[in-house]
């Protein structure tokens, strides 16, 4: 039979023939002799408890102020795979210019000032760094109300610019919550500059804070925690689910992220009678992987993905087929009820979400947030 004939045959209605029928006619196909073995995976549905409600305060979602300046630095330094400690961004400026930075040289200039004199340290590094005024930062306050009515606060990430974060912390009263011990735990979503490098500002007010990181932190990042003056417990979480308290857990993903960062951890909260609330830093693992893993691993009320807060770095994966828009198709499936996304989600993406009818929480456009289209700096959202 010639090739043409085969294609004609298939075009001519062969699509109606069942595959099972073919197999029984001796056609070599998926016979047991040939089958590859794959372990079966099933939904684990781990019960991790519940809480009454969770409120998230956006301390800052503005990681940098001018995207074109940041992308210019990245491209100028050699692209998305360049190690973040080499850029000569603050606070690791050594005065040698873009892509000629080093953790060690930068740290030498400011170490003696950390963590108490963060403002002074920032002035020092500012003179030595590339685009220091472009630095902002990402940080959020998470307030849990437990089933018994007790309240508990966690800090997620600590921003980038000492100056900007210091302002934001004072604005939201984070400095006082840290000093008083009301906040005693800092969860770091990942090692990226805009989520992590503002650490000394936290340590200025609470040097013995408990810090939780993903095991993918590089040696420079771990050294920075020490050099910033940390005196408390450092907890390193491994891949998969890690417990925080009943109803609250984190999930660590092992994925490479731009600027030579590895791994991200996101927070899952089970809100009683509502469902699962996900709180992310950047969600580099991709919102689809993120939601999929919750579905596969966790048990939550009503089997409902209820809400989401944070950056939704939509998908690190290029997609070649316009029919499959991960953003729209992938997320609809989960039927989120409240979406408070900001930061790296991107304004255009949020607007696209809104156009597609997703329940986007809008904000007030204060404190250098540019639009009311998403939950901006100083805005709060309560789940439950």
């Amino acid at each position: 039979m010639t090739n043409e004939a085969r294609r004609d045959f298939i075009k001519g209605g062969a699509a109606g023939i069942g595959l099972g029928a073919l197999a029984s006619m001796g056609i070599f196909s998926y016979s047991p002799a040939r089958a590859l073995f794959m372990p079966d995976e099933v939904r684990k549905m781990k019960d991790f408890g519940a809480i009454k409600s969770v409120e998230v305060t956006n301390i800052s979602e503005t990681s940098w102020f001018d995207n074109s300046a940041l992308m210019g630095d990245i491209k100028g330094a050699g692209g998305l795979l360049v190690d973040q400690y080499l850029f000569n961004w603050p606070p690791f400026g050594n005065g040698k210019g873009l892509a000629k930075g080093s953790y060690k040289e930068g740290m030498e200039k400011i170490k003696h000032l950390l963590p108490d004199k963060v403002d002074e340290a920032w002035e020092v590094t500012k003179a030595l760094s590339v685009n220091p005024d472009n630095a902002g930062g990402y940080a959020a306050l998470i307030e849990i109300e437990r089933l018994n009515g007790e309240k508990k606060k966690y800090l997620l990430d600590c921003g980038w610019s000492y100056k900007w974060m210091h302002e934001c912390f004072k604005r939201e009263g984070i400095d006082k919550m840290l000093s008083s011990g009301e906040i005693d735990t800092l969860i770091l979503s990942h090692e990226h500059f805009d989520h992590f490098w503002g650490l000394p500002v936290v340590l200025k007010y609470k040097p013995d804070i408990k810090i939780i990181i993903h095991e993918g932190f590089y040696p420079e990042g771990r050294q920075y925690i020490k050099d910033s003056g940390h005196k408390g417990e450092l907890v390193v979480f491994k891949k998969g689910r890690n417990e925080i308290e009943p109803g609250v857990c984190t999930f660590c993903y092992d994925c490479p992220i731009i600027s030579r960062v590895f791994g991200e951890q996101s927070i899952f909260v089970n809100v009683q009678d509502k469902g699962l609330v996900s709180i992310t830093g950047c969600c580099h693992q991709g919102i689809i992987t993120f939601s999929d893993s919750a579905y596969k691993e966790l048990k939550y009320d009503n089997d409902q993905m209820y809400g989401i807060y944070g950056g939704l770095h939509i998908s690190p994966f290029d997609d070649w087929d316009p029919k499959y828009d991960d953003l729209v198709i992938g997320l609809k499936k989960w039927d989120y009820q409240v979406m408070a996304c900001n930061h790296c989600t991107g304004l255009l993406t949020v607007q696209k979400f809104a156009r597609e009818g997703y329940p986007i929480v809008r904000g007030t456009a204060r404190f250098r947030t540019k639009t009311t289209d998403y939950l901006g700096n100083g805005d709060k959202v309560k789940f439950g």
Binding site: A14, G72, T289, F317, G346
Partner: protein, 596 residues
């Protein structure tokens, strides 16, 4: 410029992942996932391997699908097992229904590919037995060593399966007795992936590329019968091919038992297939690959959807960590669209006049200015009445500082049949296009669509036509299709003088509005406008209403939406039309307030 941390010859897995590598299933799965994702962040790896992207499926066994610019089909990859610290990945090639290669698949595979939902199912291929256990083209062995990494591809020159008894379906002899069912060029199909892996490992680790060896051994074809009995028979085309590569160092020279294999000599034709795998050629390729922005010209008649296209484009690119620069040109004095598209990108507006008549030298300046910010792509949005042919001499000036990619023309499906007869420029834009978006197909009948397609094809046989709603087109279709540059160049040689909008009597003027016009009167006035008004746009405020609104009018249809910016701007309207006169079209009744 220092681009990478680790330039010495020793392998350092930390460049991929700082977590201790334990040689277990999860470790290897993470390694491959990391290579696939990291490569997406490297424009050189992508350009050289023509890697178009990947999809990671999580149900329930993680598997990946990816595409390369060499063929239409989709590659699949899954980690099958880890034995003695060595990983075995299985590589698939899912032929596209429309490509000739499908004829070389087995009848069974061809039938699977013809079923509805095939394209969707591929993305989760590990969940479907008929996909998972067919379409396999190779196994990839990976072994991480202390200071190196082995990569080995094992495949067949051709995967051949015979049917002993033949196949009869519905009384039709589909395969004759003893004839061939499958004749798939597995080795050839694997090369795109091997080439990619090589570039990715070299690009991420920059290790010493120590050895490349190709082994060959006589192989056998499979023969099945009606009684489900499997036999093998000698077949010269079924030879087994192993490609063995070592990066960095290892105590061993090879990853598998060589007995029975012969090593092909360096000058064998097999090596010619793999020319890219040699380090010298890779370096050469990298050095000639200039890091210039991709340059697109976006044309389209007034209101066809160019700005929307721009918005979609930037949205997609921003999500992919890529940076877009935009040069906008407006026929009116205010670049309104520039204000409306608010995003993470750099814009330069050329406000003086129309790009096609009076822009000599300005595009070059704008490109140079944008290049300071290192954009990945520059889009030049021309005014709706520009004739792209007049731009071509300008392109000559910038051809050394950007990659000229293509002229994209957005065609207004809803108005095309009416407009193309009246305005020569509409057809000129179609003729100049490398890519045509037939937009607004949701507003026309299929009969109208066919008629438009016919006219488009008649006027431009080279352009690829995409049918769109809201100008939604994945930029990947444009970004990785750079073969059109020569076509642009050929147009430039023609050197004809083309019609400009001045010849057609198209004029524009801007009117400043005082605060608060009467909404009802304004709408009535708009409804009565004669047909020679092509486009009106601007910002207006109405009586008893605090808000500002964006007003858009295209060929009789209009749209009033809230202008959602913190900073108010002055109210104005820009009128564009054929032989319209400035004074007449500005009735005093708008200003109810002025009569008080």
């Amino acid at each position: 410029m220092e681009t990478r941390l680790n330039l010495d010859s020793e392998m350092d897995l930390k460049d991929i992942c700082p977590i201790k590598f334990n040689y277990e299933f999860d470790d290897y799965r993470m390694l491959m996932r990391s290579i696939l994702i990291k490569s997406l962040y490297d424009s050189q790896i992508k350009a050289l391997s023509r890697y178009k992207g990947m999809h990671k499926s999580n149900y329930f066994n993680e598997c990946w699908t990816m595409k390369f610019g060499f063929s239409e089909g989709v590659y699949g990859l899954i980690l099958s097992e880890v034995k003695n610290g060595e990983a075995i990945f299985v590589l698939y090639y899912f032929s596209s229904c429309s490509e000739n290669l499908l004829d070389n698949n087995s009848l069974f595979e061809a039938m699977v590919a013809s079923k509805e939902g095939y394209a969707e199912k591929i993305r989760n291929f590990s969940s479907y037995k008929e996909l998972f256990n067919n379409f396999i083209i190779a196994k990839i062995y990976v072994k991480v060593e202390n200071e190196g990494i082995f990569l080995s591809l094992r495949t067949k020159l051709k995967d051949r399966i015979y049917s002993k008894d033949g196949v009869v379906i519905d009384g039709k002899q589909v395969i004759k007795e003893g004839e061939i069912d499958k004749n798939f060029p597995s080795f050839r199909a694997s090369l795109a992936f091997v080439n990619f892996m090589h570039l990715a490992i070299s690009g991420i680790y920059e290790p010493d590329f120590n050895s490349l060896k190709i082994y060959k051994k006589d192989g056998e074809a499979i023969c099945y019968s009606n009684s489900l009995e499997l036999n093998t028979k000698k077949d010269i085309f079924s030879s087994e091919i192993h490609i063995n590569m070592l990066y960095g160092k290892s105590d061993k020279n090879y990853l598998f038992d060589e007995s029975g294999f012969k090593i092909l000599k360096n000058n064998s034709y097999m090596y010619k297939f793999l020319i890219n795998l040699k380090k010298e050629s890779k370096n050469l390729a990298l050095s000639t690959q200039k890091d210039r922005a991709n340059f697109f010209i976006i044309t389209g008649f007034l209101g066809s959807g160019k700005t929307k296209f721009l918005q979609n484009f930037i949205e997609h690119e921003t999500a992919q960590n890529r940076f877009t620069g935009v040069i906008q040109n407006e026929i009116g004095k205010i670049g309104l669209d520039g204000q409306l598209v608010d995003a993470n990108y750099a814009t330069i507006e050329i406000d003086e006049g129309c790009v096609c008549c009076s822009m000599a030298g300005q595009i070059k300046m704008a490109v140079a200015k944008l290049n300071e910010k290192n954009p990945d792509t520059i889009l030049l949005e021309t005014t709706g009445v520009a004739n792209p042919f007049n731009l071509l001499s300008e392109l000559n000036e910038i051809k050394d500082i950007v990659n000229l990619c293509s002229i994209v023309t957005v065609v207004d499906g809803a108005n095309f049949l009416r407009e193309y007869k009246r305005s020569k420029i509409v057809l000129e834009q179609v003729k100049a296009a490398d890519v045509i978006l037939l937009n607004k197909i949701d507003l026309i009948t299929s009969g109208e669509k066919d008629k438009i397609l016919q006219i488009l094809t008649k006027n431009n046989r080279c352009a690829e036509i995409f049918e769109t709603i809201n100008s939604e087109l994945n930029p990947n279709f444009l970004l990785y299709n750079q073969s059109q540059t020569s076509y642009i160049a050929s147009l430039m040689i023609e050197g004809k003088i083309h019609a400009t909008h001045l010849n057609e009597g198209i004029v524009s003027f801007k009117k400043d509005l005082r605060e608060y016009i009467d909404k009802e009167r304004f709408i009535n006035y708009i409804k009565q406008l004669p047909e020679n008004f092509l486009r009106i746009k601007g910002v207006v405020s109405f009586e008893n209403d605090e808000a500002q609104y964006v007003f858009q009018f295209v060929n009789g249809k209009f749209d009033i939406t809230i202008f959602d910016r913190e900073k108010r701007c002055d109210n104005f309207l820009v009128f564009i039309g054929r032989e319209i006169e400035e004074d007449f079209y500005f009735p005093k009744e708008f200003y109810k307030i002025s009569y008080y």
